[in-house]
């Protein structure tokens, strides 16, 4: 199994979710994160004091999937999250040894 991690724009959450569920994905986990990257940040000013804010709100979507589905899902995510502008984000794929579903005790691909 693999973990796919997607870091992308917050307003793309729904599009990505739909793309994934259309392909039969049954579960995923989302975190609000702050991203630093080429996109750049903005300036804030409070009573004349300037602060450079380098972090931009992003979302991270994590899902664990069967090995053979990785390529297909990564493609689907890319399509759904794509705008073409700097800041679209990244998709990371990493190894996953084991999965357990707490409710049933199932493990492996069954548990996803």
């Amino acid at each position: 199994m693999k973990k796919i991690e997607v870091i992308t724009r917050t307003f793309k959450l729904d599009d990505v979710k739909i793309a994934l569920t259309d392909l039969g994905v049954k579960g995923m986990t989302v975190t609000e994160v702050k991203g630093f990257g080429r996109q750049g940040g903005h300036k804030e000013v409070y009573r004349g004091a300037e602060y450079q804010v380098d972090f931009v709100p992003k979302i991270k979507i994590e899902l664990v999937v069967e090995d053979e589905r990785v390529a297909e899902l990564v493609d689907a995510v890319r399509d759904a999250a794509f705008t073409g502008n700097v800041g679209d984000g990244k998709i990371f794929v990493s190894p996953m040894d084991e999965v357990v579903r707490i409710r049933t005790g199932e493990t492996g691909d069954e548990a996803i």
Binding site: F11, D14, H42, E44, Y46, V53
Partner: protein, 400 residues
């Protein structure tokens, strides 16, 4: 000078002033996180801007010597001839300054009401210029027509505390702005969910509280009429709250807190023109009507496809119109409406409604075009997506 009335109206003025921060919160809770400050600012900054415009010229245009029923003269510009005594005071029992400042608070909140329509997608510079012009060219004439000796009041239109001057005028402006500015980016695709409903509930509570100054104060004296206006205001608001959530409950299956807050505001709006002209039981009927009708009113935008972000048209426009017409039906105190046998009053009300909508809509559209040409009204797409707080004000609302 009547000291009691002076005390009463000064306190009422403070209450009306407090409505504007209340409105800021009411609106501020409804937008998305990234636009909360911008939305608060649209109301809060008017406490500054509109007050100064009022002192410089607005008050004079509204209450200065009448020219042909259309507009007031410059006699009170820069608060000239407006002093702590009763000389020249439109209300003989009140210091002229007291009368002026009570009216000032109305001139502050009216343009603030409009801001619900263009929330989340307007340039701050454009907003400032537009609003300045709007107070001069739309609000002041309207105010003069109804309360300053102008044609609408002369015609006999009943508007106790601002159904036309405040609510319909701002709603007509809201409609024009919403149409001309276009929809928010992502409208129809992304979920535009209120980011902080407790803030909105607090805002509604403050509005309700301050509205006692608005309506009871419009009696301009601490008399039985003020008591009547106070009670009708409270009861209509209570009824509006209940009928809105009842409508929701029947329609969608749940009563919502936003519905309760919205229904209360709908009731407040609808009773505004009527508060001093009707007795409490008709006030309850007006409120019950307001809740249901405005609940329908907010659906209009889906039907007609404009993006009235925070439902200014649906609540203030529809509610204000209902209230103005209902005044023509139920008036029985110091005036007589349809039920008291004067169908004519309803006709007068109808004329005033149409005139208000038409005048305010067209004038707003013209002013909007001008300012749009001058500095632009809509921020760049990138600025809108980042949020107006960062792009217009270089701030963010929360670091929680």
């Amino acid at each position: 000078m009547n000291a009691t009335d002076n005390a009463f109206i000064l306190i009422c003025s403070a209450l009306v002033m407090f409505m504007t921060p209340g409105l800021a919160l009411f609106y501020g809770g409804l937008v998305r996180n990234k636009n909360v400050l911008s939305t608060l600012m649209h109301s809060f900054v008017l406490l500054g801007l509109a007050s100064i415009v009022w002192a410089v010229i607005g008050y004079s245009l509204s209450f200065g010597t009448d020219f042909g029923g259309i507009i007031g003269g410059f006699d009170f510009a820069f608060l000239n001839n407006v002093g702590p005594g009763v000389e020249n005071s439109p209300a003989g029992n009140l210091p002229h300054l007291t009368f002026m400042i009570f009216q000032c608070m109305f001139a502050v909140i009216t343009p603030a009401l409009i801001s619900g329509a263009f929330a989340e997608r307007i340039k701050f510079s454009g907003f400032m210029i537009f609003t300045t012009l709007w107070i001069i060219f739309v609000y002041s004439p309207m105010c003069h027509w109804v309360w300053g000796g102008g044609w609408m009041g002369e015609m006999g239109a009943l508007d106790f505390a601002g159904g036309a001057v405040v609510h319909m005028s701002s709603a007509a402006a809201a409609l024009a702005c919403a149409i001309m500015l276009g929809k928010r980016k992502g409208h129809g695709r992304e979920a535009f969910i209120p980011h902080n409903l407790p803030m909105t509930i607090l805002g509604a509570g403050i509005l309700w509280f301050g509205w006692f100054g608005f309506n009871a104060g419009s009696a301009l004296a601490a008399d039985g009429l003020a008591a009547n206006a106070f009670v009708t205001t409270h009861m209509a608001t209570a009824a509006g709250l209940l009928s809105w959530i009842a409508a929701e409950w029947l329609h969608g299956g749940k009563a919502t807190t936003l519905g309760a807050a919205s229904g209360a505001v709908a009731g407040l709006v609808a009773i505004t023109p009527a508060a001093g002209f009707v007795t409490p039981m008709p006030a309850i009927i007006i409120g019950l009507g307001a809740g249901v009708i405005c609940y329908g009113g907010i659906m209009l935008k889906n039907r007609f496809g404009y993006d009235d972000a925070l439902d200014v048209v649906g609540i203030h426009g529809v509610g204000g119109t209902w209230g103005a017409l209902a005044t023509g039906v139920f008036a029985s105190v110091n005036a007589e409406g349809l039920l008291a046998g004067h169908a004519n009053q309803l006709w007068i009300q109808f004329v005033s409604v149409v005139a208000t909508w038409v005048f305010c809509f067209i004038m707003t559209a013209i002013l909007f075009k001008i300012v749009d040409a001058l500095v632009g009204m809509r921020p760049s797409e990138e600025d809108e997506v980042r949020g107006l707080d960062v792009s217009q004000h270089s701030e963010t609302g929360y670091q929680l």
